[in-house]
């Protein structure tokens, strides 16, 4: 139970730090900033876990896990899942989710409804669907997956490696390959 309580507290602390960071410091690379905060709080979690008694001074005998290190690893697992599957995932969806942005665009529309043609231009708070795709191109360039050359996009070695890896994963998950572009 100690691991569960400490990882929950660490998760709340990380959420507070992340909120302060994104609201007041507007970092240029938000994912990297969130990752750094995660590492800082992770370290804090390890230190606090190792320096406090197994019962935290108030837990009953039934709430204890035999094996202090086992409890620590459980706490680290929960905290890590809370970050990558929680805070970072919410950030990714809120900042990059395509369907989610469409829902918000419909919500923000005065009439509360949008046609396909309206969505083409109103997507992303009136920035349009081309802006959406260009944003992804920009991010892929920034990540070193592609480079631009004479109105063409060219895959880098890193991008090709990632494409092969995800292609294999799509096969495992039985996902149809995208139709080729002629």
């Amino acid at each position: 139970m100690k691991g569960i309580l400490l990882s929950a507290a660490a998760g709340l602390l990380l959420f507070a730090f992340s909120t302060a960071c994104l609201r007041y410091f507007t970092p240029s690379n938000r994912v990297r900033a969130l990752g750094l905060l995660f590492l800082v709080v992770l370290l804090l979690l390890v230190v606090i876990h190792l320096s406090t008694p197994p019962d935290l001074g108030f837990l009953g005998k039934e709430a204890l896990i035999s094996g202090e290190y086992f409890d620590l690893f459980f706490a680290l697992g929960l905290f890590t899942a809370g970050f990558f599957g929680g805070i970072l995932q919410i950030y990714n969806l809120a900042d990059r989710g395509l369907s989610l942005r469409m829902l918000i665009d419909i919500l923000e529309d005065r009439s509360g409804a949008l046609s396909t043609d309206e969505m083409m231009v109103r997507y992303g708070h009136n920035q349009g669907i081309v802006w959406m795709y260009d944003k992804r191109i920009r991010d892929m360039k920034f990540s070193g997956l592609i480079v631009e050359s004479n109105e063409n996009l060219v895959l880098t070695e890193r991008g090709a490696f990632l494409a092969r890896a995800y292609s294999a994963l799509r096969t495992v998950a039985h996902v149809e390959e995208p139709d080729p572009i002629s």
Binding site: A63, F74, I137, L145, P178
Partner: protein, 173 residues
């Protein structure tokens, strides 16, 4: 509690295999719904089996609180890897960036014109397909010539709008 943790992890492994089976056996239109049922079944199975096992193995000292702790540990040990698996799975299935680099990797020169990529991923047909998928998943409902939000879609939109405002994320998308 250790029994609960191991029970949760074992159920996660079983549910992962069951999800893979759904992906290979079920028709595409049923996969999302059946997948959700499998994950939900996993939660119920974890609670039931970790509570049962805690009672069985710790019989002399078993109490309601011990069983509750074991079930809680089981749910967390099951839910934690699941929260990592689900976004990873959906990125494999739906990410436009991944689809883009996979398409490029199929070309002999690993290159594609930007205009052609925009015609695929920023076209009217693409938006229409996405809206139709959202309607199938009951986030929006199709009217005469437009889409409006369902209650489920409105709740999701409002929740993420809250985070966008809280974190000053701008338009995003």
């Amino acid at each position: 509690m250790i029994i609960g943790i191991f029970t949760g992890l074992i159920w996660f492994a079983l549910v992962l295999l069951a999800h893979l089976a759904v992906l290979w056996i079920a028709p595409p239109s049923d996969r999302a719904r059946l997948g959700q049922l499998v994950f939900l079944f996993g939660f119920v199975a974890v609670v039931a089996s970790s509570a049962t096992l805690a009672t069985y193995f710790d019989e002399p000292s078993s109490s309601k609180s011990l069983i509750a702790y074991s079930a809680l540990a089981g749910v967390l040990a099951y839910g934690a890897p699941l929260t990592l698996y689900l976004p990873f799975y959906y990125s494999i299935v739906a990410s436009l960036s991944l689809q883009t680099i996979i398409l490029m990797n199929r070309q002999s020169d690993r290159s594609l014109p930007i205009a052609k990529l925009r015609r695929r991923f920023a076209s009217r047909q693409f938006v229409a397909q996405r809206l139709a998928t959202m309607a199938r998943n009951r986030f929006v409902v199709a009217g005469q010539d437009s889409y409006s939000l369902t209650i489920k879609g409105r709740r999701v939109a409002q929740t993420f709008l809250f985070f966008k405002d809280l974190w000053h994320l701008g338009a995003g998308g």
